[in-house]
């Protein structure tokens, strides 16, 4: 039950993009088309889950053991960069099709602040192994959900008759704000 609550909490209530405002750069930049948004979501899901787990392991078995908790940010950046690199190589070999789809998005994830945010929040909340796995997975599912929703909305806006001063980035930001308000409606659904 508790694990289920973590999932609900990260996907809807404490959504990383719309409620905690992490990972906004890919949210704004890769949401022009639904196809690319789906590609980015798949890549992020993969990397976020993997880096959440591996940064948990690095923290528990290396940083805590030697009393180096203050180095967590730099250590996690290292972990994330390595995981992303590894994922890129692996995907390229294992599935050239998927590599074509994900393309440039894979290396871009390195700079996605949601990835580092999940790793740091895992420590802050004293998560266990399973919990940090689910936390990372839930965060990426939430990210994907919001990204794909936003991309679909933007595709519609592209053909809509938007008043001239609001065209382009302005209407996108307003849309994001409205979505964020809508997601605020989930708060109170669960408390963790």
């Amino acid at each position: 039950m508790e694990y289920f609550l973590i999932l609900i909490s990260t996907v809807l209530v404490n959504n990383f993009v719309l409620v905690q405002f992490l990972g906004l750069c890919p949210f704004m930049s890769v949401s022009r088309k639904v196809e690319t948004a789906i590609g980015m979501s798949m890549a992020t899901t993969f990397v976020l889950t993997l880096s959440s787990v591996s940064s948990f392991l690095v923290n528990k078995y290396i940083l805590l053991k030697f009393g180096l908790e203050y180095l967590d940010i730099i250590a996690f950046i290292l972990v994330i960069a390595a995981v992303v690199q590894f994922t890129e190589m692996f995907v390229r070999k294992a599935s050239p099709m998927l590599y074509q789809v994900l393309g440039i998005f894979l290396p871009l994830i390195t700079t996605n602040c949601a990835v580092l945010g999940v790793a740091l929040l895992n420590i802050q909340k004293d998560h266990t192994f399973i919990e940090s796995l689910l936390y990372g997975f839930g965060a990426s599912i939430g990210f994907s959900l919001v990204l794909i929703l936003f991309a679909s909305i933007r595709e519609r806006i592209a053909v809509a008759d938007v008043p001239k001063p609001f065209r382009g980035a302005a209407i996108s930001l307003i849309t994001a704000g409205l979505m964020s308000m809508a997601f605020m409606g989930f708060s109170g659904l669960v408390k963790i």
Binding site: F66, L68, V79, A82, Q85, F86, M89, F90, R92, K93
Partner: protein, 183 residues
Amino acid sequence: MWIAILILTAVALVFGLVLGFAAIRFKVKSDPVVDKIDALLPQTQCGQCTFPGCRPYAEAIASGEVEINQCPPGGDATIVALADLLGRDPLPLNPENGIVKEEKTVVIIDEQICIGCTLCIQACPVDAILGAAKQMHTVIVDECTGCDLCIPPCPVDCIYIVPVKQDVNDWQWPSPDVESVPT
């Protein structure tokens, strides 16, 4: 402090080893034809073929999208070599991509006129122009490939083409004449 440095170095080393291993283990063989074409191109990365560098042009040739006559720095020798490799007919150089230069040239910037707009820096494919915004720029002559791509963006026309005279310091053996060998 030493512990911290040691641990972090060790962690980085382990990741480096894993990545190095992965690079070998998961190596993807690229198209050998592309490699061969790329080896024949002059690697000036000048972009006159309309592709962003020699390798993308090689890939486009391999996929049959473009003709082999779009490389001005390579000139006729490259076209003949490509035609030989791919079994196509040699074509004259496409004048839309540029003309073959008789002698090697580089560009120089007249620093008295330069206003430091950085436009030429952005145009340079080999990062041979040194400078910053509102500072005068200069060309690193050893790096300049003579592609002249920096000349059109300059708003004050302060970039000139100068021929390079060969002297004992930069003389090289001439490239061997490529002749098509009947097979």
